[in-house]
Symmetry: C2
């Protein structure tokens, strides 16, 4: 008897990344509609960019592309019916919310927590890398913010985000968002639909 595996998609994202914002806001409903399970894989883009010799986002380093990106984001948010405000600080540091996301990656609140952090960065234009920012998001979900923050900042949890980032690097990830279906890589929010279709086709 043929027992098909449920389709799975690995979703690598960063809270500082504007194109990750688009995918974080869209992925749960798109994946659910196709019966695809999302594995949330938060990681740090900064160390990867630094390995390429870049001190910050290429959207900052390359001014022509940077100017374009904000036009592109405004248009895409209209297309997807997502709220949008160009952040006054970019890219925003996101170590603490990423540590919490890594902690919650297999918990039912990961999607909503991630959307709230993204909304704070790309709609409310507020800092996200503070205990207050993360607590606000957790409390809004009726979660024990202090306990989760303590767990995220514990000595034994801290190295996990670094290891996850090293794993991203080893997979050849060079930007965010990136999707994997088994070892097939899809880069960028523009490929989210193709990646989900690929997951479904592979599972059949």
């Amino acid at each position: 008897m043929h027992e098909p595996n449920p389709p799975v998609l690995d979703f690598w994202y960063e809270f500082g990344s504007n194109y990750s914002y688009l995918s974080v806001m869209r992925i749960e409903s798109l994946a659910a509609a196709r019966g695809v399970t999302v594995r949330w894989r938060p990681f740090l883009l900064g160390p990867i960019f630094r390995e390429f010799g870049w001190s910050t986002s290429p959207f900052v380093l390359q001014k022509e592309k940077g100017a374009y990106v904000w036009r592109d984001m405004a248009r895409l948010c209209r297309k997807y019916h997502l709220p949008w405000r160009q952040p006054t600080v970019f890219p925003r540091p996101a170590v603490l919310p990423l540590r919490v996301a890594l902690l919650g990656a297999d918990r039912p609140w990961i999607g909503e927590f991630s959307r709230r952090i993204m909304q704070r960065n790309f709609v409310d234009d507020r800092e996200i890398d503070t205990p207050d920012a993360v607590s606000d998001a957790l409390r809004a979900l009726a979660l024990p913010a202090e306990a989760i923050l303590a767990e995220a900042q514990a000595v034994d949890h801290k190295p996990r985000l670094r290891r996850q980032t090293e794993e991203a690097r080893a997979l050849g990830i060079f930007g965010a968002p990136t999707f994997f279906v088994a070892d097939e890589m899809f880069w960028g929010n523009d490929r989210l639909d193709d990646a989900l279709d690929f997951a479904v086709a592979r599972g059949q």
Copy 2:
């Protein structure tokens, strides 16, 4: 009486650019279906990359992205039902065919000529920057290859490609393909449909 302007799209492309290949092969039929007029704007990417301090394509300079791009191209060509072979030389120089394309930009053969040069680069895996390559494409269209080549290589035509490239730079173009609808920029084959829709909506 309201006299709507016919929608127009400026299409900036380079024969050495793999993502330009996708748009060159697709644009005429997609634009015709929406009643959009395409203005073909061939230009040189090399001088623009060099202004960014890059000696060649970022797909060569950044090996992670380079490895990904060939996977992405194979998948996209399957999706669009386009033939595809990864070129053994990349990016291929394309000055001569670009000069000819600039000469033919307003002539009825520009689309088919451009597709033939692209097919030679990304399907036949052959050099495109030679008089033979360009003559083959022109003759296949029953055009006077020798006369056109002579015109393209004439002293007064040669500076036009440089000027066209300077215009691209002044517009903030940083890669290919790039589409403009009036002063609205769309970068990459992934935005071709959005750019055409924008042209139609603007014309209404």
